[in-house]
Amino acid sequence: MEMNASDIKHTPFPAAGTMTDAEREELRRHGILLTSLEELYNWGRSNSIWPIQFGLACCAIEMIAAATARFDIARFGAEIFRPSPRQADLMIVSGTVTKKMAPLVVRLWNQMPEPKYCIAMGACAISGGPFKQGYNVLKGIDRFLPVDIYIPGCPPRPEALLNGLIQLQEKIKGEKLTGPNAARHVRSDVNNEHPIPEYGAHDLVPSKNTALWSPPASPTT
C-alpha cells in the first residue's frame, strides 16, 4: 500500500502520443472507432460524477467540507449532490452504517441507475471502524454493496475524498465496454441490483451478501 503522499502521482491527463506497441495492438484489435467512442464516453462519465446527497455520520461533515469553498469538489464537476438516487452516479457511504440503516443503503443503491459507483469513506463504512464491536453496527458496507474505492481515515480529510474521487475518475477512464474486462454495468452476467436484507431478531437476515463479501481466511487463528 502506498502510504506516502509523494508516491501518489495524479496525472489527470497523461501524456498523449506516447503509445506503446502493446497499446497500439490493443487499439487495432478493438477498432479505432470503438476505442475512440469508449474514450469519449469514459471522459464524459468521469467528468460528471454526481454523488447522491446522502450523509450518514461524522464523515458526512467532511464530505460537505469537500463541497465547500476551500476544497471545492465542483472543480471536478461533482458538486451536484442529487437528493434523489435516480439522478446520482456515485454513492459516497460516508459514515457508520448501522444494521437499521443498511437495508436502506442497499435500497438506495438499487434505485440508482447504471453506471454507478460506490466509495466507502472512512473507517466505519469500510469495516465498522471504531464502532465495529457494536451490536447494531454493520461491519463494512461491502457486505452488501460492491465498493469501488475505500478511503480509510476517521474521518478522512476532504483532500482524501478528493483523492478518492480522482482515483475513481481514473478507474472510469480505464473501463472497457467490451471484452472479458468490460465494466460492471455493461456485462450481462453481472447483476448490480442486490437483495435488500431484512430485519431479523438480532441481526440482518442475511447478515451479508455472500455473492459480494468474500474475506480471505481470517488471520485470527
Binding site: K100, S127, Q133, Y135, N136, K139, Y199, G200, A201, H202, D203, P206, S207, K208, P215, P216, S218, P219, T220, T221
Partner: protein, 229 residues
C-alpha cells in the same frame, strides 16, 4: 437545597405509606439519591414537580441500569472463646448468597425556576425477567418520553402509562435488550485481523462454530440469544 435525608423525611411525611429511602453515593461526587417505591412514584414525582419549595420542573436525564444477579460472599468474623480457656479465636464464616438482579431507572431532576438541583430519584424493578414494570414519569415530565422509550428498548423496563411505548433505536423485530449486561451480540467475526482479548475469544468461537457447521451440514449459524424478556 435540602439534603436527601431531609427530602426523604418530607416525602414520608407527605406520603406516609410510600416507600422512600435514601441511597448514598460512596464516590467522590457524593450525589446521593432517593429510592422510590414503584407504587407511588407517580404521585411523588408530581409532588416534587409542583411543590413550591422544590419546583423540580425539569427532568434532565433518565438513565437505565442493569444490575444482574450477583453472588455475594459475606464474611462474618466472630470471636469464639476457646473452651480450653485460651485466647479466644477469630473465626470467619463465609456465606454465599445470590443477590437478585433488578433493573433501575435513575431520574435527574432540577429546578429551572429556582435554579437548584439535582435531586436524583431511582426506581427499581422487582427482577430482570417478568416483573419489569415501572410507572412512567412521562406524564409528569415530557422530557422522559424518548428516554424512557430508549430504556424500554435497550434494557427492557416496561413503563406503564407511557403514551407511546415503542422501541426507539432498534427495529421492531428485534427481540432482545442489548444494553443488558448478559446480552450476547450477533456472531459476526469472519474478518478480525487485529482481534485480541474478548474479541479474539468471540472470533475464535465464531470460527469454531463455522467449522463445526461446515463439518456437520450447511446449516446457517444461529445467533445465540440471551435472556429474552
Amino acid at each position: 437545597m435540602e439534603t436527601v435525608e431531609q427530602l426523604r423525611d418530607r416525602l414520608l411525611a407527605r406520603f406516609p405509606s410510600a416507600a422512600v429511602a435514601a441511597v448514598t453515593n460512596p464516590g467522590a461526587a457524593a450525589e446521593h439519591s432517593l429510592l422510590l417505591g414503584a407504587a407511588q412514584a407517580r404521585e411523588i414525582a408530581e409532588f416534587l414537580r409542583d411543590d413550591p419549595v422544590l419546583r423540580l420542573d425539569y427532568c434532565s436525564n433518565v438513565t437505565g441500569i442493569d444490575w444482574p444477579e450477583k453472588e455475594i460472599t459475606d464474611t462474618v468474623k466472630s470471636t469464639v472463646p476457646d473452651p480450653a480457656g485460651g485466647p479466644s479465636k477469630v473465626v470467619e464464616t463465609k456465606t454465599v448468597r445470590v443477590e437478585p438482579g433488578y433493573l433501575e431507572a435513575v431520574y435527574f431532576l432540577y429546578s429551572m425556576a429556582l435554579k437548584h438541583g439535582p435531586v436524583i430519584v431511582r426506581l427499581r424493578t422487582a427482577n430482570r425477567t417478568d416483573a419489569v414494570t415501572l410507572p412512567s414519569l412521562t406524564p409528569v415530565w415530557r422530557s422522559c418520553d424518548f428516554q424512557e422509550r430508549e430504556i424500554f428498548d435497550l434494557f427492557g423496563i416496561v413503563f406503564s402509562g407511557h403514551p407511546d411505548l415503542r422501541r426507539l433505536l432498534l427495529w421492531d423485530e428485534f427481540v432482545d435488550h442489548p444494553m443488558r449486561k448478559d446480552y450476547v451480540e450477533p456472531d459476526d467475526y469472519e474478518w478480525e485481523p487485529t482481534a485480541h482479548d474478548e474479541v479474539l475469544v468471540r472470533a475464535k468461537a465464531h470460527q469454531a462454530a463455522v467449522a463445526a457447521a461446515a463439518a456437520a451440514a450447511p446449516v446457517p449459524v444461529v445467533n445465540p440469544t440471551s435472556s429474552a424478556s
